[in-house]
């Protein structure tokens, strides 16, 4: 059937998307790689300096801290979103009334701007006046904690914000997966005398393995894009204790005008994402084939 083989039609249909996507998404990645090999500051001349920027990365204490912070950030965010998302999905599947209402409300934070949520938590974390968390601590007779200026507490405090905001999305995905498990399997396990906990771990979880893996990737990729909460809430402070690779890159490139070095950090972020996704993909293949 020649109608569906017309090359010209294919071209016309694909051209706009391919054009915009290539120019705005793909091309800049290549240019970034190019910039990372220079010491350009945006105005003067661009000098090729080879891999010097990357060498400097290894000795950059702030970068190493940002890298560590990023990993912890991802762990907390992904941990919260997957675990809380899954637990609430399981709980939801046993709730009969108000299900729709709960789902709706759970999703609302995901529709809010990250800045809105960040500012909200700014109020929750505050010490003067006494924020929510410090008030709760006060009820337990614990001294107020300066969440956002305490060296060890600021990073988890910042991570929790992003973790909290998107739990709803993962709850909905897990919930849909759980209720689509064929009831016959559940019936059979009931007849075999399995209790709810056994059902959960031995039957349900393995059956939705693909969805769990996909959620790990979604959550991880989302966490890698983390920027707004740290930048807006604490500016990566105090003393870079909540600095992420993204905020550091932003500051280096646009505040310090060091485009070459900033690009090197950007390439590093890109490589880390690739490694992350490939490793998740290897552990559980999500294209349907089983990893025996």
């Amino acid at each position: 059937m020649n109608t569906l083989s017309k090359k010209s039609a294919a071209f016309i249909f694909m051209a706009p998307a391919v054009l915009i996507y290539t120019v705005i998404v793909i091309l800049p990645i290549l240019i970034s790689a190019g910039f990372s090999l220079t010491n350009w500051n945006g105005l003067g001349k661009m000098e090729f300096i080879g891999l010097k920027n990357f060498q400097d990365l290894f000795h950059d204490r702030i970068l190493i801290m940002a890298l560590k912070n990023n990993l912890i950030y991802i762990l907390i965010v992904v941990g919260m979103q997957i675990i809380l998302g899954f637990v609430t999905a399981v709980l939801l599947s046993y709730v009969k009334k108000f299900r729709g209402f709960i789902q709706t409300v759970y999703f609302i934070p995901s529709t809010m701007s990250v800045i809105a949520v960040a500012q909200l938590f700014n109020c929750f974390y505050s010490v003067t006046p006494l924020g929510l968390f410090n008030k709760l601590l006060g009820m337990l007779d614990v001294e107020p904690v300066t969440f956002l200026s305490d060296f060890d507490k600021v990073l988890p405090a910042v991570s929790v914000v992003e973790g909290w905001q998107y739990v709803g999305i993962y709850m909905i995905i897990f919930y849909s997966a759980l209720i689509s498990i064929s009831p016959e399997v559940i019936e059979a396990s009931n007849i075999d005398g399995a209790n709810k906990l056994q059902q959960l771990f031995i039957i349900k979880i393995p059956m939705i393995k693909n969805v769990i893996a996909m959620n790990f990737i979604l959550s991880g990729v989302g966490a890698l894009k983390g920027f707004a909460v740290s930048y807006n809430l604490t500016s990566g402070g105090p003393s870079h204790k909540s600095e992420l690779l993204s905020t550091y890159m932003y500051k280096i490139a646009f505040t310090n005008r060091n485009l070459g070095y900033g690009s090197a950090i950007a390439i590093l972020i890109m490589l880390l994402s690739l490694i992350f996704i490939i490793s998740i993909n290897k552990t559980v293949r999500i294209d349907g084939t089983e990893d025996s």
Binding site: T3, L4, S5, K6, A9, F13, M14, P16, A17, V18, I20, Y21, I24, V25, L27, P28, I29, I31, S32, F35, L84, L91, V95, T104, V105, Y106, F107, I108, T111, M112, S113, I115, A116, Q119, L120, F121, C123, S126, P129, G131, L132, W164, G168, I173, S176, A177, M214, L224, K225, A228, N232, S246, Y250, A253, F254, G262, S263, A266, M270, L274
Partner: protein, 275 residues
């Protein structure tokens, strides 16, 4: 443990977890109706009195309507093009036979994993050279480009369910490939279009990174940037007005969300529930 106690425990846990998610929202809404002095001294104490002065202040004295207008403009234009370009590209990938189709599909899917930071510096330089810094066009182009991957994925997944027989019958009737797209695929895609719209809407409306970098003039600011108006240089925040602004600017997203609830959730699951 008796069944009764188990049941109570269960419901207590459910209520607790539910409260963690919903309390901040409820608190936010109530807080937007409290006075600034109350919020500055005892925000989590008992409610003293409710007032709409924050809303009045925001509506009269701030630029919130400018920001809303800007966000609405940028979002609408971007979304129209996202839907158009992605459904067209998805149609070509799904139905038209040409050699590189699978490669191109993988090419777009790749975009889902790319952190936007990698593109920031070159984009800034490019737009700067083209004089597009501090323009809405820059934002629109960015929003279109970064939403294509997910939208194309959604459309391709949907088009799988349109039977070949429909297009074959249309061809026998003398339909061109463009006719098949416009007269068969587009009308059938209503649900997917709504899903794509709602998912992209949330991402675009709430964007912070791109608007932070590419917009400077107050008259062009979008909603996310605008929220920082109430934070002065010294870090002193006018909480009441900030919360009122948050509530006002979240309303459009909520409207879209409640109106299209099912579509948004189904978009999120992305066919993840295939057996």
């Amino acid at each position: 443990m008796s069944r009764g106690i188990k049941k109570i425990c269960f419901w207590v846990v459910v209520a607790l977890i539910f409260a963690i998610q919903i309390y901040p929202i409820v608190w936010l809404i109530i807080a937007s109706f409290r006075t600034n002095s109350e919020l500055a001294t005892n925000p989590f104490g008992s409610l003293q009195h409710l007032t709409i002065e924050n809303y009045v202040d925001v509506i009269q004295n701030s630029n919130v309507f400018i920001y809303l207008k800007n966000s609405a403009f940028v979002t609408c234009v971007a979304l129209i093009f996202v839907v158009m370009f992605s459904s067209m590209a998805a149609f070509a990938i799904s139905r038209i036979r040409f050699k590189t189709k699978n490669l191109l599909f993988a090419y777009f899917i790749m975009g889902l994993t790319i952190p936007p930071f990698v593109t920031l510096i070159p984009l800034y330089v490019m737009f700067s050279k083209m004089g597009l810094l501090d323009t809405h066009i820059a934002l629109i182009l960015l929003y279109i480009a970064f939403n294509l991957s997910i939208s194309i994925l959604l459309f391709v997944n949907f088009y799988k369910y349109i039977p070949e027989e429909l297009s074959e019958a249309a061809i026998l009737d003398g339909c061109s490939v463009y006719g098949i797209y416009f007269r068969i695929f587009v009308p059938l895609s209503k649900n997917t279009i709504l899903t794509v719209l709602s998912m992209s809407f949330i991402g675009v409306w709430n964007d912070y990174l791109f608007s932070l970098l590419f917009i400077n003039s107050t008259s062009l600011k979008t909603v996310s940037l605008g929220m920082q108006d109430f934070i002065s240089e010294t870090g002193y925040r006018v909480w009441g007005s900030t919360f009122a602004t948050i509530c006002i600017t979240t309303v459009p997203t909520l409207i879209i969300y409640f109106a299209l609830n099912k579509k948004v959730s189904s978009g999120m699951t992305l066919g993840a529930t295939k057996g």
